[in-house]
């Protein structure tokens, strides 16, 4: 337990460091968001209004950097991430609230399916070498070597557009409103098929490969020979002895990839104009929308940290050798 507490302490420290860096970086970058907004308004904003804009964005030049910093921390604790420039005056937290569910639902589910399928295939491929299993790896490796951008465009050309079965962009039909209705849900599912399948294709071979390699390594262990000598069924040896041990590195990899759900799918969301966080980040970058960028980076950082913690917990749960006491 003390191990876990130490890890949590470390993650809290990292989170603090990330938040602090997150505060300073936009202020260190040349280019002033308020000024660019003023420029866009072409002189129609008077100097009072300009000052209140600075205050609104938490960049009050009259305040010292330290009081800005503490104010920023206080806002964060209240869940206040400031106002977005692009969607002014919508708060960043609200903008994120609109896009996060899309990313988490689509990429989250896909990541889980990819892990489960890939690991399962990896177990089989690593266990019975020879036969059809030997074809799985070259095929999936080939597929995963296609740049995602290409794969996405190919998928759109083949399956979307004129006469295609699937829509090529967006998260749902513009005609329906997001709600718990059949129309909306079926539309959302239809829109998610191409993004999900393309992510699966590119991400699954990683799981297959690492699981296969671990299975090959583990199946040379003495305890596997013992399990065979004990007359256990092939299935039991494969699952409870070989796969159970081979799984350990993959599980921490899985926890890590959960942390990357939020930030790791920028490309997919751009290719499919999917209304998720990645697409939003893309827009924020284009518009120099610092509060939104900060908000997104914060969410990404925190989810990576939470994923690391999950990996630690998973390892503790799965590998008795990491549980030191006793």
């Amino acid at each position: 337990m003390s191990y876990l507490l130490r890890r949590i302490g470390f993650y809290l420290f990292t989170a603090w460091a990330a938040i602090t860096i997150n505060f300073f970086i936009p202020r260190a970058i040349p280019g002033d968001p308020v000024q660019s907004m003023v420029n866009r308004a072409q002189g129609q904003i008077d100097s009072n209004a300009i000052h209140s804009l600075y205050v609104l964005f938490g960049m009050d030049t009259d305040q010292s950097i330290f009081s800005q910093y503490f104010e920023y921390l206080g806002q964060l604790l209240r869940g206040d991430l400031g106002l977005s420039f692009t969607f002014f005056p919508t708060p960043v937290s609200e903008v994120l609230g609109d896009s996060l569910p899309w990313t988490i639902a689509l990429v989250g589910l896909t990541t889980i399916v990819s892990f489960v399928l890939g690991t399962g295939l990896g177990v089989l491929v690593g266990w019975r070498r020879g036969g059809w299993a030997d074809l799985v790896l070259p095929v999936t490796t080939f597929l995963s070597s296609i740049p995602y951008f290409w794969l996405g465009l190919i998928a759109i050309t083949l399956f979307a557009g004129d006469g295609g079965a699937f829509p090529s962009s967006g998260g749902y039909d513009p005609g329906v409103t997001p709600s718990f209705t059949w129309d909306f849900i079926s539309s959302a599912v239809l829109h998610s098929v191409l993004p999900a399948v393309t992510i699966l294709i590119t991400s699954m071979s990683g799981w297959i490969m690492s699981m296969r390699n671990m299975m090959v390594t583990v199946s040379q262990e003495d305890y596997i020979t013992v399990a065979h000598a004990k007359g256990l069924s092939e299935r039991r040896v494969m699952v409870s002895y070989a796969a159970r041990n081979a799984l350990l590195p993959n599980v921490s990899g899985f926890a890590m990839s959960l942390g990357l759900i939020v930030g790791g799918t920028l490309l997919m969301e751009i290719v499919f104009s999917y209304p998720g966080v990645g697409y939003e980040l893309f827009q924020a970058l284009g518009a120099k929308d610092y509060p939104l960028m900060q908000g997104i980076f914060l969410v990404i950082t925190l989810s990576v940290l939470v994923a690391n913690l999950l990996a630690d917990v998973a390892y503790l749960a799965l590998d008795p050798r990491t549980r030191r006491e006793g």
Binding site: Y223, V226, L232, Y241, R244, G326
Partner: protein, 344 residues
């Protein structure tokens, strides 16, 4: 001598296929009798483990059994050739009739499962009617049998000492009361005190439960104390077989004598330790004639040309594959036979 329980007949094992194959076990025949301890000794690399894996069909690739039979005689019922069994039959026979304690006993336990789980899963696999409670009770009984406190049942392997782990493996080997236990260097990784304790315990258990043991080690002195009979292996072949006393008092093969002089006896008079000069043969380039002749201090005329067969010398209770003991094999054969009875 009692009836045979396991007969190895002309077993050969190769690593690899076709022209690249090397033969690690050559035409080995051995008989294990009910309740006896048969020792198998030989330098490291002589093919002992390969024989053990081959006869139990546990050879890792690229190992293949290229010939021979392994006949198991059940307590009641007809003899079966293990090499000819189908998968389900083989699974059924494994552990319930023949169990194994491996060389790498340190790694023989699955690190992610508790000891009790690993003791119980084998009972469950072979006795479908057992209940979780009955299995746990049996596991506790087994732990007591090898002198481990039953509160260790819920330990993970890494929480046990090396000696304890090895005892757990012995307990596990006895779980289904098999007729044959094969032990491949079961104590090699342990210190001498622990080795002593475990061997004493093993002897007691064998006395009590009556299983037969094929005990494999590179340490011949250990076998002398432990076994009823001893077979000596060199370059994948059995070169001498005799009962333990005979072999200790009067080794016929110069290699056996060399082995005896390589390890300090655990008990009894001291021998001068000299070891055997040279190194074990390369399987890819086996010497012509007797495989031992390049290292043999007493090699003579026929040794480099012709391979001696394993045969009984004067009396019928033992056998040896050495030209020294083939009457009229060479001019010097007759007078050297008498001097091989080299006592220390």
């Amino acid at each position: 001598m009692s009836e045979p329980v396991l007969e190895i007949k002309n077993l050969s094992v190769d690593y690899g296929m076709g022209p690249d194959a090397v033969q690690a076990v050559r035409d080995v025949s051995l008989t294990l009798h009910r309740g006896e301890v048969l020792g198998l000794a030989g330098e490291s690399g002589s093919g002992k483990s390969t024989l053990a894996y081959g006869m139990t069909r546990l050879l890792p690739p690229p190992g293949v059994v290229s010939g021979g039979e392994v006949v198991y005689h059940p307590q009641d019922g007809a003899p079966v050739d293990i090499l000819g069994l189908n998968r389900p039959q083989l699974r059924k026979l494994r552990w319930s009739e023949i169990s194994i304690v491996f060389q790498g006993a340190m790694n023989s336990l699955n690190p992610v499962h508790k000891v009790v789980t690993q003791l119980c899963d084998v009972i469950k696999a072979h006795d479908k009617r057992s209940t979780p409670a009955s299995r746990r009770a049996r596991a506790a009984e087994l732990m007591k049998l090898v002198g481990i406190n039953t509160d260790r049942l819920d330990s993970y392997p890494h929480q046990l000492s090396g000696g304890m782990r090895q005892r757990v493996m012995i307990a596990m080997a006895l779980a289904l009361e098999p007729s044959v236990v094969i032990m491949d260097e079961p104590t090699t990784a342990l210190d001498v005190v622990m080795q002593r304790q475990i061997l004493t315990q093993l002897a007691e258990l064998r006395e009590r439960l009556g299983f037969a043991v094929l005990f494999i080690t590179h340490d011949l002195s250990l076998l002398v104390e432990l076994s009823d009979r001893i077979a000596i292996m060199y370059g994948g072949r059995i070169v001498e077989e005799a009962n333990a006393r005979q072999l200790y008092r009067e080794p016929l093969h110069p290699y056996s004598l060399g082995l005896l002089k390589s390890f300090p006896a655990l008990r009894g008079e001291r021998r001068e330790l000299t070891g055997i000069p040279g190194s074990p043969p390369d399987l890819r380039a086996m010497p012509s004639g007797c495989a031992f002749h390049p290292r043999c201090p007493r090699a003579f005329e026929p040794c480099a040309d012709r391979d001696p067969v394993l045969a009984a010398p004067e009396d019928k209770t033992r056998s040896v594959a050495c030209w020294l003991h083939v009457p009229g094999a060479g001019r010097t054969a007759e007078n050297s036979t008498s001097s091989t009875t080299a006592r220390s």
